[in-house]
Subunit: 197 residues, 2 copies
Amino acid sequence: MTITIYGRPGSRARRPLWVARELGLEVTSIEPAPGEIKQPPYRAINPNAKVPALVDDGLTLFESFAQSLYLAKKYGTGRLYPEQIEDEAQVWQWTLWGLNELEKPLTVCLFERIIKPEADRNAALADAAERDLQAPLAVLEKALDGQNWLLGNDFSVADINVAAVAALSRSTKVDLSGFPSVAAWLERALARPAYNG
Amino acid sequence: MTITIYGRPGSRARRPLWVARELGLEVTSIEPAPGEIKQPPYRAINPNAKVPALVDDGLTLFESFAQSLYLAKKYGTGRLYPEQIEDEAQVWQWTLWGLNELEKPLTVCLFERIIKPEADRNAALADAAERDLQAPLAVLEKALDGQNWLLGNDFSVADINVAAVAALSRSTKVDLSGFPSVAAWLERALARPAYNG
């Protein structure tokens, strides 16, 4: 029985796909057409009519981070997923933090610097979002000071979940020069073969 | 050693506090003054200078949902937190879904219907947010059809995390009449003595 992940590798599906590749899992990757995700067959898999969705051995899951946590824990405890509850709580903390603190402003930068047609972009909105990123980036910088990965010495799904969001800082040209530990950590994370698949 | 939770019970601190009360845990509840959370002593606990923060036996955690998951798992596995990975994945899924699908539009309703001074409120923004809620509420309605709680028969931290967000529909007068299973579930969840503390 193989794991099926629905969604383009360049979408949020990258999060569970990255975990799967780190662990060498056999995955069937399906890219539904834009219209398909609104139709009943796909809605039976993800009622939110969004990607990604994951199906594994009778379990169907939506929410990309629930999928990455699930794969990491089920197939990678002791490797990508920690064994102690205190470390596990930190995996959850960083995952939620990446979503709450980084994803929203980086998404604004993405739309206002890249996705929208050039004439429609609002540079001031993107710049304001980059200013909003300074406080969370300072938190991340301090957390990574003197350690390679968010939980310490070992790369984990916490790094995957936060780096998969922070990766948006590259295409959107967010300046990380004031955050050398963040920049080095992101470089290390995104250099992993499993990131690019 | 008692657990300490920083943040007013009416803030996002309600999420871990609700879990703690369900489990009968001894908690010291501290309400930092607005200025205090920007100062170094509080930043040493939560570098994001936000509430809530949780301290338990040497572990310091930010992110309210990481805190509720941690307390539920550490002190309530088999009661508030499921034992099987497939059920655990669904706890994560619903927690993240509540954050991504419900919290943002409900927060818009909160600001535009309640928090802002009456003259500054934008009724059209609130109404648009209520329209955005129709699709996720339909997903929740279907999930709760024929079952009392999100995981089935047993109340869990998934219900706490989603209901703590969905509770905003009450003060903001979001119409749930088209979603009878959601309305009944929310009623059941918020009637629990531990919700109000």
